[in-house]
């Protein structure tokens, strides 16, 4: 076969596959915007009202409990996970341990990232059973923190890794301790660190499999750390399995809200990493 013919065949194939990928994205976002938008425009109160007692059985009410539940669960868990992951990433980077050992630890975190999220849920659920408690907002927060920790560690680690070695060396040569050196390198790695935190937050926001066991997944507003709560993905899952068409319609509204939050997180992470770029080396303006 002529090499130019082969070239054009493969080029066509590549364009087709790019179109397939794009079609998936456009269809998913399109469905959410159109169907979710219609539900919300027809009945804006869906987003702002608490659900009635029989909401999932076709009763009246809205999805406010899930929105609030998601927010109350994701924000504290991200804060916990960020602090923990930041310390872990520093530990992997700064010269507290030998390089060889930190590479082995990285493999451990890769494994943690790969564990299906449902296993985190089962682990926490078992602790709940042993200690004789029920699913609650607090348990959901802990699950989500565990779930997003490996993601954030990986991103922070990569960000700290990309800091030029000269900065570390010059900090040491000025007599800084390892901790102070670590804080200096942090400043240079800030865009990556923030992006990592937001990506972890996005993962926690969208995960249903772990929360469905641990947060109680009830039909009530989140009232306290030890009370049951729901979250948007869990609610969407319950709504999509419902027999009532009106409940299924509401799933698109919930998914619209969820996807808007996720896209906002994505954009903010992009903008903030551009904004903080001025602190990184090489852009000495």
């Amino acid at each position: 076969m002529n090499k130019y013919i082969k070239e054009s065949i493969f080029k066509v194939l590549m364009v087709i596959s790019v179109f397939i990928v794009m079609a998936y994205i456009v269809i998913i976002i399109g469905i959410n915007v159109v169907k979710g938008g219609i539900v919300i425009i027809n009945n804006p109160s869906v987003v702002f009202t608490a659900p009635g007692p029989k909401y999932l059985l076709g009763g009246e009410g809205g999805i406010l409990h899930a929105i609030l539940g998601s927010v109350f669960m994701v924000i504290p868990s991200t804060c916990i996970a960020c602090v923990v992951s930041y310390l872990i990433a520093l530990f992997l980077q700064v010269d507290y341990i030998k390089n060889n050992f930190s590479n082995k630890l990285r493999v451990v975190f890769d494994v943690l990232w790969g564990i299906p999220s449902i296993l985190y849920g089962i682990f926490i659920l078992n602790i709940l059973i042993v200690t004789n408690r029920r699913g609650s907002l607090g348990a959901g927060i802990i699950t989500l923190a565990l779930l997003q920790m490996p993601v954030i560690v990986r991103y922070m680690d990569e960000a700290l890794n990309s800091v030029p070695n000269g900065i570390r060396e010059s900090a040491y040569s000025l007599g800084a301790t390892r901790l102070e050196t670590a804080f200096t390198t942090t400043k240079y790695a800030l865009p990556g660190i923030i992006a990592g935190a937001l990506i972890g937050m996005g993962r926690a926001m969208g995960d249903a499999a772990s929360v469905i066991f641990t947060s109680g997944a009830g039909n009530s507003m989140p009232k306290g750390l030890s009370k049951s709560a729901s979250s948007l993905p869990v609610l969407i899952f319950q709504q999509a399995n419902s027999f009532y068409p009106s409940v299924r319609e509401h799933a698109y509204a919930a998914s619209f809200v969820l996807i808007v939050i996720v896209i906002i997180l994505n954009t903010v992470s992009r903008i903030s990493s551009k904004h903080f770029q001025k602190y990184t080396s090489g852009s000495g303006k």
């Binding site: 070239e7 999220s117 682990f123 920790m149």
Partner: protein, 301 residues
């Protein structure tokens, strides 16, 4: 002098803090493993592993726990989704990184990032609206099969969409870091672009692409919600790809809440989690070994 001491002490304190946190994480993995093993002991004491894995009857009410349908279901869904996703995502990654002008490229990468961030329940929800009717009305008749649309094939189509961003972003990244000289030398010999990609770039970026595929496998394998929503959840050995099936994580989600009271059933579900954990562990370690091997063999710098 005094200030010096506080700085060093602070350094030591933080070191202790980090060591504590790291050990807590390691402890978490060990605790998870021990918990899974201990809690699945009950089911293993009544049935042998082979009985559980190779029996095809699943009926907890009668005390029948056969995982074979779910195991084959998981296998077919994962493999089929990778068969769909791997060629498409590698080809589009090559197009994005080698053919596309750099201005459009960054927009595309944003789109791919958005796709990566979309929660799995949203994938499931959209699949219910689009892919299920598509399989029922178009693809099923195309193959001459009657199907409800809630089947293994649809699940694989959804999973493929979730694997795309993983493989694409890693492939684009590993193609991007190759030295420009490598491409220029080959092109100056009169090769076409595809020859360059085929003979040089795939080899040079090989380790990255393969680890991307294994990561994609991990994502497809562990995915729960999107699959549960479209696969039909019938615990039978699938006669064809267009019949409803079940996956391992699907069983757990489907029956954990209602069956909490039966200890044997609970133990069976935890044994499924143990299987999931072991397989994920195995593939992650495998991916690492492959990556390191290939890196030393296929080095181009």
């Amino acid at each position: 002098m005094k200030k010096q001491n506080t700085r060093i002490i602070l350094d030591k304190i933080f070191k202790c803090l980090m060591v504590i946190i790291i050990s807590a994480v390691l402890l978490f993995i060990i605790a998870l493993l021990i918990m899974l093993i201990r809690r699945s002991q009950l089911i293993l004491s009544r049935y042998t592993i082979w009985e559980l894995l190779f029996s095809s009857d699943w009926d907890p009410d009668k005390g029948l726990y056969g995982f074979l349908p779910a195991v084959t279901g998981t296998f077919f869904v994962t493999v089929l989704s990778l068969l769909i996703a791997v060629p498409i995502s590698i080809l589009s990654a090559v197009y994005i990184s080698e053919y596309m002008p750099s201005t459009i490229k960054s927009y595309f990468q944003t789109f791919i990032d958005v796709l990566a961030g979309i929660p799995s329940v949203v994938f499931g929800l959209c699949a219910l609206l689009v892919l299920v009717p598509l399989t029922r009305d178009v693809i099923g008749p195309l193959f001459g099969v009657k199907t409800t649309g809630m089947c293994v094939f649809t699940a694989a189509l959804v999973l493929a969409a979730m694997v795309f961003p993983v493989i694409i972003s890693i492939t684009v990244e590993s193609l991007g870091i190759l030295p420009v000289g490598l491409k220029e030398q080959f092109l100056s010999l009169g090769a076409t672009k595809w020859q360059l990609i085929e003979t040089v770039l795939f080899r040079a970026a090989g380790p990255g692409i393969i680890s991307g595929i294994i990561l994609g496998f991990g994502r497809a394998f562990g995915e729960t919600m999107a699959v549960v929503m479209v696969i039909g959840n019938k615990n039978i050995l699938i006669p064809s790809l267009f019949s409803p099936g079940q996956t391992l994580p699907g069983i757990i989600v489907g029956s954990f809440n209602e069956m909490m009271s039966v200890p044997e059933h609970q133990s069976a579900l935890i044994f499924i989690s143990l299987i999931l954990f072991v397989i994920v562990l195995f593939f992650n370690i495998l991916a690492n070994i492959i990556k390191n091997r290939l890196k030393s063999r296929w080095r181009y710098e």
